[in-house]
């Protein structure tokens, strides 16, 4: 009797598995310091930050930072940009990667299949810094490839870097291009998991390749699609900072159409040292995405608890 009670105790558990707990310690400490320790720092969103005062010595100013964020008109702008871009990214990349996965799965030559996948995966390996270099070389106004070509054809050169509207199409294009290898693999592995017998019997019944895709592959992919889309939805408040920042940088001409929360926070921290506003914006983003993840998970749980995140 005594022993069983002892077994439930905290200290007993710790001493019994002390080596195991010690093995967890490095990772535990890492997250304690780099993820949990900054959390009290959230209070600076409600403070008038001064360098001498630091986080805790500075004066409180209530909701002042949020009011500023709101009244500067940035709030609505970056929120809608963030959400719209991410929705477009999500839709475009889901559609394209399902298409690509189906195509690759139906391809006949094994060698060709591998080649196609290799080429699609390549952009994933390249950093956005490099991509932006290529991008600049193609679209640069003075001597970019595109404009050199246009000029030699006698057409007017286009200045992409001062034309916000074009970016609304270019950004999703680049997003899909860079991530396609990664996201199509997930669908491809789902397709590989489909029972081959159903294809064979469909073939015997005389179904064409399109009928097979439409009536077998796509319905079987549906659960995967739904899960990946839901996961994508939960990340909607966090933009693709790397991409936006490297492709656009601090180009003021484009800010209205391309500023997202992440770039706003980053810029006001690094360039204008506006701790108050950027931490207010950061907190706003964290809270919104927390709510989003929570509700998405709730929805997934309702739909099929196997797929819930936690």
């Amino acid at each position: 009797m005594d022993i069983t009670r002892k077994k439930e105790g905290f200290l007993y558990e710790i001493t019994k598995n002390k080596i195991l707990y010690l093995m967890f310690l490095p990772v535990g400490l890492y997250f304690l310091v780099l993820a949990y320790l900054p959390m009290p720092g959230i209070v600076i969103a409600f403070k008038e930050y001064t360098y001498s005062g630091g986080i805790f010595g500075s004066e409180w100013n209530g909701m002042e930072n949020f009011r500023y964020f709101f009244e500067s008109g940035k709030l609505g702008l970056v929120t809608s940009n963030t959400i719209i871009y991410n929705l477009v990214f999500l839709t475009a990349s889901t559609v394209v990667s399902v298409l690509v996965a189906v195509m690759i799965a139906e391809m006949a030559g094994k060698y060709f299949k591998k080649m196609a996948q290799t080429f699609m995966f390549l952009p994933y390996f390249v950093s956005w810094v490099t991509v932006s270099a290529f991008f600049y070389n193609i679209f640069n106004f003075d001597y970019g490839t595109l404009n050199t070509l246009l000029k030699s054809l006698g057409a007017e050169p286009v200045d992409i870097y001062s034309n916000p509207t074009i970016w609304m199409f270019l950004l999703p294009l680049f997003y899909v291009w860079k991530g396609i290898g990664f996201s199509s693999v997930l669908y491809l592995s789902a397709i590989m998991g489909i029972d081959q017998e159903s294809y064979e019997s469909a073939k015997i019944d005389g179904a064409t390749i399109f009928q097979r895709i439409w009536y077998i592959t796509l319905p079987m992919l549906k659960p995967t699609v739904i899960i990946l889309v839901l996961l994508g939805l939960s990340r909607i408040m966090r933009g693709e900072f790397d991409m936006f920042y490297q492709l656009i940088g601090d180009n003021g001409l484009l800010a209205d159409k391309t500023d997202i929360i992440d770039t706003l926070v980053f810029r006001s921290l690094i360039f204008s040292n506006d701790f108050g506003m950027s931490s207010a914006a950061g907190l706003y983003q964290s809270v919104l995405s927390f709510i989003l993840i929570y509700s998405v998970n709730w929805a997934v749980k309702k739909w099929n608890s196997d797929y819930a995140l936690y």
Binding site: E13, N17, I19, L20, Y21, M23, F24, P26, V27, G28, Y30, F31, L34, A35, Y36, P38, M39, P40, G41, I42, I44, A45, A116, Q117, T118, F119, M120, F121, L122, P123, V126, S127, V129, T130, A133, F134, N137, I138, Y143, G144, T145, T148, I180, L186, S189, A190, D242, G249, F266, L269, I270, F275, S279, G282, L283, S286, I293, Y294, D306, Y310
Partner: protein, 265 residues
């Protein structure tokens, strides 16, 4: 899709065609970089160091933690998993993080922060945990324990070797992250000696005067027109080359790694 497929060959076309400079000039750009190699070589060294050391440390401690989380006799394993997972749900945001690193931990301009910032990823740990739980039977640990091995040596001698496939693919993700990291340097590094490759590249791309600086710094007086644009491209190629070259060899691990992760990651 063919667009991305052709990108590789397009890249070299671009390099020659873009500024309408004869091909021989291209070599000049490379010569230019490697004549004054301090900056580039230095950042190469930094990047190589953080990639190798960071990946090894990350894999070692991640898998150790993952093993603990996978052991069913650890009573608080779910609490610990949630402790990790919570950090992906809610974060303090960039500003408090920045201030902690810069003002309180004094890690600005140290190689430590370059190593630390990307070291652990909760999802990698959870993927490893799933992998261990699915492919390493509990009885292995148990029988080793009966034979008198302690938990740490069980992990080192038995579990770690069994994890090789999972470690290979996760390691690739981690290494890729380190290699392509410019963001940490943007935030915390102002000392040129610690610039990683991608950040050097970024700096150079965003300042077109780089070539002149480089030359001026060496005391040489330049009257010739410098191949600024081609230097940028040559540098891009230098920074990207290793990844692209290594890519065909590691691709199969990468794909299998993704598949490991997708099984209820």
């Amino acid at each position: 899709m063919l667009l991305s497929g052709s990108f590789e060959s397009e890249e070299s076309i671009l390099r020659h065609g873009y500024s309408l400079i004869p091909r021989t000039f291209d070599l000049a750009a490379y010569k230019f970089i490697f004549n004054q190699p301090e900056k580039v070589l230095h950042s190469y060294g930094v990047t190589l160091f953080i990639t190798v050391v960071g990946t090894i440390l990350s894999l070692y401690f991640s898998s150790m933690a993952a093993y603990v989380l996978a052991r069913k006799d650890v009573k608080y394993r779910n609490a610990m998993a949630f402790y990790l997972f919570f950090t992906t749900l809610f974060s303090a945001g960039l500003v408090p993080y920045f201030m902690l690193i810069a003002n309180y931990l004094q890690l600005k301009n140290t190689i430590t922060i370059l190593l630390l910032s990307g070291m652990f990823n909760v999802f990698h740990i959870l993927i490893l945990r799933t992998y261990i739980a699915n492919s390493v039977p509990d009885s292995i640990s148990e029988s080793a324990k009966i034979d008198g091995a302690n938990d740490f040596s069980i992990f080192m001698k038995i579990i770690l070797p069994l994890l090789k496939p999972a470690l290979a693919s996760i390691g690739l993700f981690v290494a890729l992250g380190y290699w392509n990291d410019w963001y940490t340097a943007t935030l915390f590094i102002t000392d040129e000696k610690l610039f990683p490759l991608q950040y050097t590249l970024y700096k150079i791309l965003s300042s077109s005067n780089f070539a002149k600086q480089l030359l001026a710094g060496n005391g040489a007086v330049s009257t010739i027109e410098l191949p600024q644009q081609t230097v940028k491209l040559a540098l891009t190629a230098v920074a990207t080359g290793p990844i692209v070259l290594a890519y065909p060899f590691v691709q199969k691990y990468f794909v299998s790694g993704l598949t490991v992760g997708s099984v209820k990651g």
